[in-house]
Symmetry: C2
């Protein structure tokens, strides 16, 4: 079920910043040339708004459209943002040349200064530099990681996979009780796969659930990788799931709370997020399967009412919004699933399965789910 | 400077739950015996409130006093909590016997059920079981970890230390770009120290700052361990700092944002938190030194006004509260430090140091701080 699209595989063995560095240089050269020819320098920036985002039925990911906006230097309303774009681009180029990385906060501090001869700052706040960075990503079609920007390190995994991270060979089955810490940047020049005996990936929502699976040695019994993202998975975790799925041909199964937030996390892993639609093609795993917790599990598994958490008005509203997402709408099983949650009037957490018995989750519930693909939601 | 108090060293090589299991059994036996003698069973629970917390000037930690409250079974206002205490105790005993651990959420689900013959639940909400667990910890004088309860895995470290975690030998200088993931439970039966070439520990607040130190190979150049807690350090990180400090005799230096929250985090690492005062004796590191960011660094380091973040009314209020804490009050250098921040009218983040140059923080600022102990705050 995995690896149908080998073209998606990230290039390996290349210095990740090289391409981005060349693109930044080209961008700068074009702007400089235009200025030297005494014309108005401009940059084309693809529009990052819902109006320019669509669900591609064929690739089954959220994609950005072709609409662009020109950002001009000689335009009173755009000049400052033009300057900011050039400034952030130049700081990224510095990072790439120095083979260093920085956080979005650090880029902000690097780029902030008083404009000579004025009392004006280049940036007043990080809320100004963050969108500029996203503009730059789409303008030159490079991932943030390729611009040498890191996000937070979040998420861990355990299982029979050996990888090389930052030159260190790591057997992820032997990384201690908190497992392998997934870094923010997992591009092929940082993380390489060396050996993998896993048959699939089970991705869970929270670290407390993950620990249950690790302690109960689920990954050993089922020869799999168990990962968590500490809530909505950070970029590093999503990118690693993507790479393991396409490069190692590992199916991805997702186990989340039975609530609108769980559905949403699944949707982000599967087809990408609306905000960062341009990253879907290198982060989304459209073949990922949702294995639980399903709204039908209450009856199916004979759970007690101890597991019920009442839905509030906001949950119901959010569930209805999710029903309308084009990637859920029209899918009968998903419509049944979400409508059933609303009809139940309650939500259920993965950890609630423990109400039956501490190891019910890992020794009965998930094995039952994995064995019966009719229970999967796609 | 470290290791003055060898008596604090945690017992090593013992099965951590054994003692706690015996204490739970003793508690249960006392209650059962009293009941069989047809008396009112009761438990003595030390009071976990500010009224029963004091700063011990000698040990320099926040400590709990001796005030206790009796919780009786035959008391209309206490019967439910008595039952809940016994129930949580019994679930912890189950965990210890099965050599398993659970999160506080999982304990809640394990202990929740309908009381036979009624429609009443043992617990309506986790907010009922969490304080019961803390009552139990103080009643039998065991850490949560000894009751086999885990909190979140949070925090990472890198440096020349080799440890054994869950049977896996880990060289923390070679754990990849996100470093060693510090688990929630680091008691001696889970984590053992094998070899340590580090001379000290530098603990920083955030993972993005930590990554700067890791990428710039600070730990290699200065032969030290660099750790972060992802904000206020979780129990696992605090306990590991404690163990490395006392067992490996490593001084602990702390680098935090120059704001009231930074002062507070330092205070928690150094003398414990008010809420969990009873844990101080096994988590607090009173010898920890605050090396920055100090309110005097703006002038001392010739920083530009790009680094200034305006103090708001709440910051000022919080700073004044902190000035009144008995462990800050009366310490001249701390009073000067905090008053200077209020006088400055601004706060500064660690990452703001990067405004000077990307590696200013790791190559100049911190080495300068470490070299001049007159700049440390104690």
């Amino acid at each position: 079920m995995a690896g149908k699209n080998p073209g998606r595989t990230a290039p390996s063995g290349t210095r990740r910043g090289r391409d981005a560095g060349e693109k930044l240089e080209k961008l700068a050269r074009t702007v400089a040339d235009t200025a030297l020819r005494q014309h108005d320098p401009s940059i084309d920036i693809p529009i990052r708004a819902l109006s320019n985002v669509a669900f591609n039925e064929k690739s089954r990911t959220i994609e950005m459209g072709d609409n662009k906006q020109q950002r001009n230097f000689f335009n009173y309303g755009q000049a400052k943002r033009f300057m900011q774009t050039m400034l952030v681009a130049s700081k990224c180029k510095d990072l790439i040349d120095a083979d260093k990385t920085a956080s979005i906060r650090q880029i902000y501090y690097m780029a902030k200064h008083t404009i000579r001869g004025t009392s004006e700052k280049t940036f007043d706040d990080q809320s100004e530099s963050d969108p500029i960075l996203e503009d730059l990503e789409v303008a030159i079609n490079s991932l943030r990681e390729e611009l040498h920007i890191f996000a937070s390190n979040r998420g861990n995994l355990v299982g029979p996979i050996t990888l090389v991270d930052d030159g260190n060979t790591l057997d992820c089955a032997r990384m201690g009780s908190a497992g392998y810490a997934v870094p923010s940047i997992v591009e092929p020049d940082v993380v390489q796969f060396k050996k993998c005996d896993a048959k699939f990936i089970l991705h869970v929502e929270k670290d407390t659930v993950w620990r249950r699976f690790h302690e109960d040695r689920f990954w050993e019994k089922h020869r799999c990788i168990v990962s968590h993202g500490g809530g909505q998975p950070a970029r590093g975790m999503r990118r690693l799931l993507f790479r393991m799925h396409y490069e190692l041909k590992l199916p991805v199964y997702v186990l989340l709370d039975n609530d609108p937030w769980g559905y949403y996390i699944y949707s982000v892993i599967k087809q990408g997020s609306i905000n960062l639609a341009y990253e879907s093609k290198r982060m989304a795993v459209p073949e990922a399967k949702f294995i639980g917790v399903s709204s039908f599990d209450y009856e199916r598994c004979g759970l007690s009412d101890d597991v019920k958490l009442e839905l509030d008005a906001n949950d119901v509203k959010r569930a209805k919004q999710i029903l309308d997402y084009p990637w859920f709408a029209g899918k009968k099983p998903w419509e049944k699933e979400i409508r059933k949650m609303i009809a139940n009037g309650f939500k259920m957490e993965v950890e609630a399965m423990i109400n039956k018995r501490l190891t019910y989750l890992t020794e009965e519930y998930v094995p039952m789910k994995l064995a019966d693909r009719k229970q999967w939601l796609d």
